[in-house]
């Protein structure tokens, strides 16, 4: 019968008693877990957080401003307005353009609409053009929206997201509402994600309009 040989090395006994072992494991586990939760990927501001087919826009807000000289160039935007006319921002060259992405179904867009309409009226004669880009809306609802809020500036409808795509290499809108302020040379001076405030946007537009290209 084969006799079991003694192991050449001494066996290391567990130095910690069972409670100590458990405590060590628990401590390490907590450390590990705490570090991991910080690594979880988070949604980008203004993207839609819900799942299961519910479609709405979150309420996170951010403002990004660019100093002159480090501003990305905005593409020219053209399309058909809600009233059926052709329009292009090329005709706005040399003026400040405020580009606002909205939809009649979007609650934060409705909340900021009066401010935008008022600002458009305020800056009407100051070489500042307001242009809306209507996302995922039907003609009737969009027209009704402009009637409700007295929106005096034109809006392009963008059912296929082409206009949004055009901005993908510069500063794509991260959700709606988003507002881009383009300076006189056609560069993006600032982007506001989320609803704008009257005073905040007015200050920004005034500042950009005051620049001499």
């Amino acid at each position: 019968m084969y006799r079991m040989p003694r192991p050449a090395r001494r066996v290391a006994r567990p130095a910690l008693a069972a409670p100590g072992r458990t405590a060590l494991i628990a401590l390490l586990a907590l450390c590990a877990g705490a570090s991991v939760t910080g690594c979880e990927g988070g949604a980008i501001a203004a993207s839609t957080p819900a799942s299961g087919g519910q479609s709405f826009v979150s309420g996170s807000y951010s403002t990004t401003l660019f100093r002159p000289g480090s501003r990305p160039a905005a593409p020219a935007v053209s399309g058909i307005t809600l009233t059926g006319q052709r329009l292009s921002t090329r005709s706005y060259r040399g003026d400040v353009v405020v580009l606002n992405f909205w939809g009649s179904w979007c609650a934060p867009c409705r909340q900021e609409a009066p401010a935008l309409a008022a600002l458009a009226r305020h800056f009407r004669s100051g070489h500042v053009h307001f242009l809306g880009v209507d996302i995922r809306d039907d003609q009737a609802s969009a027209e009704a929206f402009t009637r409700t809020f007295g929106v005096g500036y034109p809006s392009l409808s963008d059912p296929g997201d082409e206009i949004a795509l055009q901005f993908r290499s510069t500063l794509p809108p991260a959700g709606i509402p988003s507002t881009l302020v383009l300076d006189r040379s056609g560069h993006v001076a600032g982007r506001i994600v989320g609803g704008v405030s009257y005073s905040g946007l007015k200050a920004l537009i005034s500042e950009v309009a005051a620049e001499n290209s």
Binding site: P7, T37, I44, G53, S104, P108, S141, A144, R147
Partner: protein
């Protein structure tokens, strides 16, 4: 099992210095700081050893399995948030308690992450040193042949006319021809084979680490998105167009591949008769897509199991339903709404769908409607229900509200939910409408016309750069697993000594470190036969203990006194899949 010899208690016998009988612990007193540091270092070292031990791995594996259980029996937010909401409604007291422990989001919970992270740390801490050791021991020799080979589980002996040295050498040559690694000595030969087992074992565990890394890669650089697309509509892969967008940590909107997709037509077929009536047979979404704005437009028939792949991004069809179309005229006579509204199916048998219509720009009051769409409406006991998922007789039944939808305040709302808190229900009896029929609202509030219906599809858009590495890791893991299960580590020894009247007695012995897959017995028998026949030998004895020790051996299927992780060569069945490299204990003569 002998442990450390107990140190002499202080104060008894001669003082430590100069006393030969003092144990190793009776050391000179050390400065405080140094001993504390040593204690900490020792504590950490022991803790690390605990963490990377097999027992801890066992416990963590079991914990991981247990931790996954609530994630499969409770509704999870990442999979079905509606079910979570239902659970809250059904268990109002219990649900918040469960939520506190992240039981509705188990697989993103910190304690779940801690468990698998700890397991992988333990795995890495065990596997990586062994890999280095394996690489270093690539040329390691088998141990010496034991003196008494008849004690090994498999043994045979024969006589031959050759000289002992020649006999041993001939045996060694034959074994070497069978790709055994040899070690020779005076009149003996030790051969070992099957190192691939450890290679396979380590490969499997390292591949698991690589799998985890791939999953992490996808979580950081990949994204998942959903979009519900009504027939005739298009969308582009940009955040404003996506219903749900879950980017990885380092993903920005400009990273999204800028393709556009148009849904031209959706067709579905169902079983029309028999017990499985209503079961779907085929879904087909005819798409047109272009990989970039202005690029060439291509067609594709999107079906389940046939995703569309554009620029490394995959588009899948994961659901479908109906979007009835409505035109709403408000009290002032203006058309304020004219669109298809996606209704969400609530049961799969007849695709009864629910939805809401919000008309925030109606005047004088905002209007809202909520109701159901029935593709094949049938009256059953006064109630309408849909009995077949295809639109053979579609009806819509709505309740009308007027008042304030709450949208102007800026608080985001779901487009599928109507908040009637500030609205009054309009007194109309909900009459089901057929396509083309209208519903006149009282008090000149307006008219709603059900103009038609269109199907919609729900698309899942995913980009996962960790997908291919995960697949490769999985394949490597499987290969390593199979290798480690199939290859046996085994040793064969031969010892030749001069016997009576001039002949040489050759003893052969065989030992399998793991014989769980069986087969070493035959292999040893074959080898022994070959060696013997090659030397014109005559068999003396053959013994075989393959099924285990005789019944009187204590603890036949439990190990006695072995170091954790080392093998039990007697039974042969109990072998570490992740074996230690305590090879020196095997095959040695009695004693150490």
């Amino acid at each position: 099992m002998t442990g450390l010899r107990a140190p002499r208690a202080p104060g008894r016998g001669a003082p430590a210095a100069g006393d030969g009988g003092a144990g190793p612990d009776a050391a000179l007193p050390q400065p405080r700081g140094q001993s504390a540091r040593l204690r900490l270092a020792g504590w950490l070292r022991r803790g690390w050893r605990q963490l990377t031990s097999m027992r801890t791995a066992l416990i963590l594996l079991f914990l991981l399995a247990v931790a996954s259980v609530p994630g499969s029996v409770l509704p999870q937010e990442g999979i079905d948030p509606a079910a979570v909401a239902q659970y809250y409604a059904a268990h109002p007291a219990l649900a918040p308690v469960l939520a506190r422990f992240s039981l509705f989001n188990v697989f993103a919970a910190p304690w779940f992450a801690a468990t698998y992270l700890l397991l992988f740390v333990s795995l890495a801490g065990c596997v990586l040193p062994r890999t280095f050791r394996l690489a270093g021991s690539a040329r390691q020799q088998p141990p010496q042949a034991p003196r008494n080979l008849s004690r090994l589980p498999l043994a045979a002996s024969y006589t031959t006319a050759l000289e002992p040295a020649a006999a041993a050498a001939a045996a060694g040559q034959l074994l070497s021809g069978r790709r055994f690694r040899l070690r020779t000595g005076a009149g003996w030969v030790a051969a070992e084979k099957g190192y691939l087992r450890e290679v396979g074992n380590l490969l499997f565990h390292i591949a698991l680490l690589a799998l985890l890394a791939s999953v992490g890669l996808g979580a950081i650089f990949g994204y998942k998105a959903n979009r519900l697309l009504v027939t005739g509509d298009s969308f582009a892969n940009t955040p404003t167009a996506l219903d749900v967008f879950r980017p990885g940590r380092l993903v920005t909107p400009s990273d999204l591949a800028p393709f556009s997709v148009t849904l031209d037509r959706f067709t579905a077929s169902y079983v029309t008769s028999g017990a499985e009536t209503g079961q779907p047979l085929q879904f087909n979404a005819a798409l047109r897509y272009s990989a970039s704005p202005g690029g060439p437009v291509r067609s594709y028939d999107l079906r389940v199991n046939h995703p569309l792949v554009v620029d490394g991004v995959s588009v899948y069809i994961i659901g479908h339903g109906y979007a009835p179309e409505f035109r709403v005229t408000d009290g002032a006579g203006q058309v304020v709404f004219d669109d298809a509204v996606p209704f969400i199916p609530v049961n799969q048998n007849g695709l009864t769908s629910e939805g809401v219509i919000k008309v925030p720009d109606a005047s004088p009051d905002q209007l809202g409607f909520a109701g159901v769409f029935l593709p094949t409406a049938v009256d059953s006991g006064g109630r309408l229900e849909s009995v077949f998922p295809a639109p053979l007789d579609p009806r819509v039944s709505l309740v009308a509200y007027a008042g304030s939808l709450g949208m102007n305040a800026g608080q985001p709302q779901s487009v599928y939910q109507l908040d009637t808190g500030h609205m009054r229900q309009l007194p109309i009896s909900p009459r089901p409408l057929s396509p083309g029929e209208s519903m006149k609202l009282p008090d000149h509030a307006g008219t709603l016309t059900f103009t038609g219906y269109k199907p919609w599809v729900s698309l899942a858009i995913t980009y996962d750069p960790g997908q291919l590495p995960a697949l490769l890791s999985g394949i490597v893991a499987l290969a390593g697993l199979i290798l480690s299960f199939m290859v046996r580590r085994r040793r064969v020894f031969a010892r030749a000594s001069a016997g009576p009247d001039g002949t040489t007695i050759v003893d052969l012995g065989g030992l399998a470190r793991s014989d769980a897959a069986g087969g070493f017995d035959e292999e040893f028998a074959e080898l022994a036969q070959e060696i013997m026949v090659a030397q014109d030998g005559r068999c003396l004895t053959a013994t075989w203990h393959g099924t285990g020790p005789p019944a009187d051996a204590p603890g036949a299927d439990e190990t006695i006194g072995t170091a954790p992780g080392s093998t039990d060569p007697v039974t042969g069945t109990s072998e570490s899949a992740v074996s230690s490299t305590d090879d020196e204990s095997l095959g040695h003569p009695e004693g150490e």
